[in-house]
């Protein structure tokens, strides 16, 4: 037993031994933190550097597709459109990694302004309309009237909603139902909140995986993640953005019974 050897020593020696051990642990922790910070910095740098050649590829392909260098036939245009779409998808993933890395390094700041939740929900839904139509989903909106304007970072709240809505669309088989609701939320330590719900009739998530989905690099089902071409960072970023505001994010779901994701945003920022 580990205790036996220590117990046999005089008290002073036992204390000295424990102090040495504690110092050793502290050194290890500091070293690991340092390594983690270096890797985060590497992630931020590499994503930034990946963006430049990717941008050049997309611009070159767009020049070709626009016929600026001469006319194209349909097959050539389709092929070039494939390059552009692939490039833009890669850029979106690189951006997600960059956002995550900046969040992990606590380099994300909130730019708050007052805005109406109603308009925000409608804007985000309008942006997702082409995808919803493509997958033949029905989209329902249920927004409580006279919600107070919130003082928050509009871009980040839109990002969270866009991410949840994107997941709902992706993880629901074609012809499903997706909905967004906004209502008064439970008060937080920062005061009153607005709660936004994004629901779907999709594949659902087993209860034992509910915590996992918010963790970075987590993939509940690796094959699903590959099919839905994510970085595995979307929900981790969403949680980070919500928590930066002093809100919280959670879900209700069972396998095969669809998912409902909820998040709250305090009406006024936490001081």
């Amino acid at each position: 037993m580990p205790g036996t050897y220590l117990d046999a020593l005089p008290l002073e020696q036992r204390l000295a031994f424990l102090e040495e051990q504690t110092a050793e642990f502290a050194r290890t922790i500091a070293e690991l933190r340092n390594q983690d910070a270096l890797k985060t910095q590497f992630l931020a740098n590499i994503s930034h550097d990946l963006r430049t050649p990717l941008s050049a590829i997309v611009t070159h392909a767009e020049v070709l597709r626009e016929g600026i260098l001469g006319p194209l036939d349909d097959r050539q245009r389709d092929s070039i459109t494939g390059i552009i779409n692939g490039g833009r998808q890669l850029l979106a993933m690189v951006d997600e990694i960059l956002t995550y890395a900046r969040g992990a390094a606590n380099r994300l700041a909130l730019q708050t302004s007052a805005f109406a939740v109603d308009a925000l929900v409608r804007d985000v839904c309008a942006m997702s309309a082409p995808l919803i139509a493509k997958r033949r989903h029905a989209l329902d909106l249920d927004i409580t009237e006279n919600l107070p304007p919130v003082q928050a970072d509009r871009e980040k709240v839109a990002h969270v909603l866009g991410n949840l809505l994107g997941n709902a669309i992706d993880f629901t088989p074609p012809g499903g139902r997706v909905w967004v609701a906004a209502r008064h939320g439970a008060p937080s330590p920062a005061g009153p909140t607005v709660e936004i719900e994004v629901g779907d009739t999709g594949i659902g998530i087993a209860p034992e995986h509910h915590d996992l989905v918010f963790r970075e690099f987590a993939q509940v089902d690796a094959s699903a993640s590959r099919r839905h071409h994510g970085t595995g960072l979307g929900l981790a970023i969403a949680r980070k953005f919500v928590e930066l505001h002093g809100g919280r994010v959670w879900l209700k779901s069972r396998l095969g019974e669809g998912s409902r994701f909820y998040f709250t945003i305090p009406v006024r920022p936490k001081s």
């Binding site: 050649p53 597709r65 260098l69």
Partner: protein
């Protein structure tokens, strides 16, 4: 007279793509990859438009504008180009005199029309 665009950009790949786009749509293009080259080119050539990448290799692209403003060589239109959407950065660009901030990759469909629009304003 054809519109002259100065590209301030440290990636030869991006310059290559934008040069084809702009030259093929009737613009004259020159390029600079460092702050000092950009300042010298702007003073020598008086471009109509500067597309300014604000993260040049270890240099702050906006310092090109500080230097040009100092000697009264500020061009008609400066548009900042950046890789990431950052509110604070955007504010800094506008405060430095940029007409607007464009995100990479610059859309080939939009750029020629936008240049016409900026110069018409």
């Amino acid at each position: 007279m054809e519109t002259h665009v100065l590209l301030v950009e440290d990636s030869a790949l991006v310059v290559g793509a934008l040069r084809i786009l702009l030259e093929e749509t009737g613009h004259r293009v020159s390029a600079a990859a460092t702050v000092s080259d950009a300042v010298a080119a702007a003073r020598r050539e008086h471009p109509d438009v500067i597309l300014l990448d604000i993260t040049l290799n270890r240099e702050d692209g906006l310092s090109v504008l500080t230097e040009l403003a100092r000697t009264g060589d500020f061009p008609r239109v400066v548009v900042a180009v950046t890789g990431h959407d950052d509110h604070a950065l955007k504010e800094r660009c506008l405060a430095a005199g940029c007409r607007e901030v464009m995100l990479k990759p610059i859309s080939a469909m939009e750029l020629p029309a936008r240049i016409r629009q900026w110069l018409a304003e």
